[in-house]
Symmetry: C2
Subunit: 404 residues, 2 copies
Amino acid sequence: MPVSSAEVRESMYNFARRMSLVGTSAVREILKVAGKPDVISFAGGLPAAETFPVSELARAHAELFAEEGRAAMQYSITEGWLPLREWIASRMRLKGIDADPSRVLITTGSQQGIDLVGKAFIDAGDKVLVESPSYLAALHSFSIYEASFVTVGSDEQGMNVDEVERILRKDRPKLIYTVPDFQNPCGTTLSLDRRKQLLQLAEKYRVPILEDDPYGELRYTGERVPSLAALDKSGTVIHLSTFSKTLSPGIRLGWAIASGEISHSLIVAKQSSDLHSNSISQRAVARMLQSFDYDGHVQSICALYRERCTAMLAALERYFPEGSHWTHPEGGLFIWVELPGGLNAAELLEEALARHVAFVPGAPFFAGSPRHNFMRLNFSDRPPEMIEVGIQRIGEIAKRRLGK
Amino acid sequence: MPVSSAEVRESMYNFARRMSLVGTSAVREILKVAGKPDVISFAGGLPAAETFPVSELARAHAELFAEEGRAAMQYSITEGWLPLREWIASRMRLKGIDADPSRVLITTGSQQGIDLVGKAFIDAGDKVLVESPSYLAALHSFSIYEASFVTVGSDEQGMNVDEVERILRKDRPKLIYTVPDFQNPCGTTLSLDRRKQLLQLAEKYRVPILEDDPYGELRYTGERVPSLAALDKSGTVIHLSTFSKTLSPGIRLGWAIASGEISHSLIVAKQSSDLHSNSISQRAVARMLQSFDYDGHVQSICALYRERCTAMLAALERYFPEGSHWTHPEGGLFIWVELPGGLNAAELLEEALARHVAFVPGAPFFAGSPRHNFMRLNFSDRPPEMIEVGIQRIGEIAKRRLGK
């Protein structure tokens, strides 16, 4: 059902009103509008639905109900279904992380992993060190535990780790939160040298690092860099990842890997949060993975997204006004654009929505003072032709506004 | 695989050591031991797995994957799948609750509902008014938000509402938490008069009531009493319920119904907690319910549990020592027993575990000073013959200890 432009306009006004909040509520609104079928949306972080292994998961469910339906429908343990934790531990070991199943906690998406770490570690007034900009919903989650933020800038190599020691010494944060691979919103990757340096600092000042790694499997170019958890020998890193970007976000299955003591705290926090994650999906996915070519599947996703990322970078080059800057991601879902001439991304969005194109203005991703001349563009959920059209429209709007 | 008595003994010692914590960790241990197949467990709150509608849910999943697999596997909205919220709203309206789908939030089990209310309402040091004893995992959840508790005693008619006004005036709690129907752990039901009185007081002092109603559908005898939410005309009550006791706990689907403003806060809290609940289960359950005889199903569960409850009450009468007292539930899953002569339930449990019978000692259910001569017995998950054997063993142990 196509939306009328009146509908888009109404959502747009609602959006503009709420955008003044600069927060997740506003972004929720954008995503609602962006979800309408005739909107070219670069707003969400949605994987392409055509990559979902529907028939394989359907078969796993059919077998599951036939063979262990009652057990799957009963209460289960908080840690999660052991065969699934075993698969995850062995996958993580392939990536150099010293994981065993007893240290793997299944979470209701990796968003819950962030929430549990907040619950376990953050008391009112505690400081969390984050990149600026950083993942919006992590900021939101920590805010709920009344964290305050200390921010570190970033460039194409990720977090400016050189600034970190001064902050650790002065502000004594309780936690370091980072997305080292294909960061949200920037798409940038923390270099190996900076990873080593960050880990050393965290060890020296005894501050745990929350490594949020939802996108690590999605590399399109360049060399893989070991995760912080793979470099960690001291139990400093809590590593989060998820099946959301490789199998399905609707199943809400992610995982947290941490040292024994931290892992225990996370289990206690999870027990009070939701007792355990959906057992049917846990068992069905574990069954599916017994015979599923996960590597081949990830490769085919990467081929698709590589093409889309390339298309978006080319379209930006072609249509965006001179003086614009953007990141060149080696993987993940996002490109981060800095607009020239003091252009305001939220104002640009109003016009873009009227032309049925959506994105997320960058302001809410800044934990400190918001900067209004940035936008986050997602390329995974639309084919190259639509990317071309959408970027062209945004580019035209930006140029016209600059010309005024 | 039967457990060796050495294994039981080891678990028992571990348990005894941890029981000194008097908390959920200890109860986790009990439940692990109790989960072993040759233990007669009255410890958990497990529904009987033979009641789960396995084939119906299997069929719904098969149809779902065939017809809307991709959509079901994608990200969804935080509020939950609309057709499921519509079904829930109409079911709640049948029970007199003025529910419309926009006020229904799907939660990852009703445990998450408790957690979200804690997240949205409780700051460090806030007071929560609870029954004494009260549901352990709710106490745990509120504790994580650094609540302190003010307690109200209870009898066979539920919470002693007469004591409430004094507390509301003096302690100004931020929230009232109660399980009015077939309370956990007591199995008692709050009388209609007390419900009206409690609601009036909450309105007068403007304190929201969290009505936790996981068991309301499971009534075996007596007349249904309207829920607090059904009596509420002022938006004072947040009502939680779940499919865990009627369809399946493994699907982790519950719901929260609240006034518009509170509902909005819960949605924001849920977004940061896990973005949304498992979409596949939400859609599969909504599909299943289109043609499922829910009332008939609930009646058959009630018939089964009524028999088990009756068997346990009869066995208590037959085997427990003189001076024991226990509640006479009209529904739900639990009987609450007060032991005579200063018997300590945790010590009793050690001996019971050695004879392969488990229950939960009452102490951790007290938010204030723990009382050690109580035990919670679950009757839903074992057939009458096993109930008879298990209660006989506990009774023998209790009598022998009294005789010493």
